[in-house]
Amino acid sequence: MNPVEAPEGAGDPDSKPAKIVIRDLFKIFGPDPAGVLPLVRDQGVGKTDLLETHGHVLGLDRISTTVREGDVHVVMGLSGSGKSTLIRHLNRLIEPTAGTITVDGEDIMGLSARTLRRFRRHRASMVFQRFALHPHRTVLGNVAYGLRVQGHGRAAAEKRARGWIERVGLSGFDGRFPSALSGGMQQRVGLARALATDSDILLMDEAFSALDPLIRTDMQGVLLGLQAELRKTIVFITHDLDEALRLGDRITILRDGAVVQEGTTPEIVMHPADAYIADFVKDINRARVLRVRAVMARDPAGAQGPALDAGTTLEDALTLFQDDPSACRPVAEADGRVVGAIALPAILRAIERPRVGPSDARATTGTGSARAASGAA
């Protein structure tokens, strides 16, 4: 159950400072969590044993992870994997059984009731799966709520709230009550409410999971657009791999309350840590998820022609090789710096689906031979 860190390879090289650091976090539900903690922590009793012989539920099992500043950090897992429990520890809606969480070096577990309220008001705001809007407040009242709690006067709070209502595309709905809005619009209110407090951390608990697929994609676009400008630190919980890959700068995958893999999108897709994750990623459209940055050669020597942006998806990059399949093109970051070279074979290798089978616990990283061995998979 050790978290497997994929080698730091294709990820963007500029390492951002750590924002949220979680170390050895345990959460056990039951009558005497502290009593059974040593069994889990020191004697390695597993989730099933703990439940069957000790009557306790293991919610989080030695979680250690780091969320970097300005990242969208996705925590992914199926239901029951502990992801919603984990995000509630970050603002202490749930108290851990053991472990530490620091934000900008400050120990969250050490906060008093009063300083915790300050932290929640100013530092970390939250968006909920089922919106959790105040039904008795209008859209304006809901968006202004965080500011009112902070102590702003009504007029000032509502003025700022109007700005955010406009930003999420709900102009003209100020006076409506949540019950009059569709799910997608309600979650826009939820997002505006969380953004209005100007907190540097945004906690999103399956924020888009309750929405229709089209609306969900739409909201992901809204979030990415806002994030490009706001550069907040976002912890995003989801059970949807496509969503994780679309939004995440980094992804942590949970299973049974433990971290099974953590890494950037290309790391997860190209080097799944075990069969469980490999099974997860086998059906995704790799050409659409992977970007040139992740598969290029680091040495730009021999590349010719106009440079490709490093953020181009492989799907888009493919079209650029239609005229000359043997070309080798330089790759540049958005600032124009040439960082590598890319040719067609590298793209094709990356797009190939890795072979996964029950006999092969370690997933292979899509090579031609593996592909051939799997036959018509």
Binding site: R117, R121, H122, H134, P135, Y145, V149, R176, A180
Partner: protein, 297 residues
């Protein structure tokens, strides 16, 4: 004394002992009232003044002004012309039938009793909703208060304070307060846990959470409790006429003892009209409080 006949006979203590026990309790209570009765009466003086003042306001004001004010309240609470019409019609009927004065006295009594019940009941309900242990302690007390025959309240109250308005007020409040306590507690407990979690996540203090979210969302239930409290106060006001509370209860009582059928029905009808008006008024106000639930513009 005891053979083995307890299987056959009801195991009652004999009459002499029972009498002694009852007398001991009564004597103890009597000596309590002798030593503290005056002080307690003084403590209730402000309430008595409030009630007397309110009664005089209602009796002193021109009848059409009183009707206009109540009709205005009905309009503000319900925006319903039917209700306003009902209010005006009822009060004109009451005035024409010569029951104006008694009705005003009863209304003064009901208003003050309801005010006291709400001022005491809502905080008790709020405290109860925050602690299961407190709830477990209070619920049996409320059950006793609601099921004890209402006449029984009159006895200790009269022993303590004699006849008059204040003992009547006390008896009415004790009888009428349980619904507002129960429904405040229920309303707050029914507030959606996810909404409360979100409120906490934004750093609301317990005070902000209580008055900004829990009480507003519990308000429809609290209003239903206030409505029930008013109804119970109205029914108790008639009973309280037995200890000298003036108002519609006294003619009813006289009608019962003298077999004046028409007089009994007319005054009873006035109570019914008051009940309907108060009921519709509070209910439609309660409904207007939850406009947000089915807004569709």
């Amino acid at each position: 004394m005891a053979d083995f006949n307890w299987l056959v006979d009801v195991p009652a203590i004999d009459d002499a002992r029972l009498r002694a026990l009852n007398r001991a309790i009564d004597d103890a209570y009597l000596s309590f009232t002798r030593s503290y009765g005056a002080a307690i009466e003084d403590a209730f003086l402000p309430l008595l003044r409030l009630m007397v003042w309110f009664e005089q306001v209602l009796l002193g004001a021109p009848w059409w002004l009183v009707v206009a004010i109540i009709a205005g309240l009905a309009w503000a609470a319900s925006r319903s012309r039917v209700l306003v019409g009902l209010v005006v019609g009822s009060f004109v009927f009451i005035a024409v039938m010569g029951m104006w004065e008694d009705t005003m006295r009863t209304m003064a009594m009901i208003s003050v009793c309801t005010l006291i019940a709400v001022v005491l009941g809502i905080p008790i309900g709020i405290l109860m909703s925050r602690s299961d242990r407190l709830k477990a302690a209070i619920v049996p007390v409320l059950d006793v208060m609601q099921t004890m025959p209402s006449f029984v309240y009159l006895i200790p109250v009269v022993m303590l304070l004699g006849l008059g308005k204040v003992p009547g007020l006390l008896a009415v409040v004790i009888y009428a307060i349980p619904p507002v306590i129960r429904l405040t507690d229920l309303g707050i407990r029914l507030v959606d846990a996810e909404v409360l979690e979100a409120t906490d996540a934004f750093g609301a203090s317990p005070w902000q959470r209580l008055w900004g979210v829990q009480v507003p969302l519990a308000l429809p239930n609290i209003m239903a409790g206030i409505n029930q409290t008013i109804m119970m106060a109205l029914s108790m006001v008639v009973v309280a006429s037995m200890i000298g509370v003036k108002g519609l209860g006294q003619p009813v009582l006289r009608a019962v003892t003298n077999q004046y059928f028409a007089m009994g029905v007319l005054n009873g009808l006035a109570v019914v009209l008051l009940a309907i008006i108060f009921d519709r008024l509070t209910q439609s106000y309660g409904r207007r409080l939850q406009r947000y639930r089915d807004e569709s513009r």
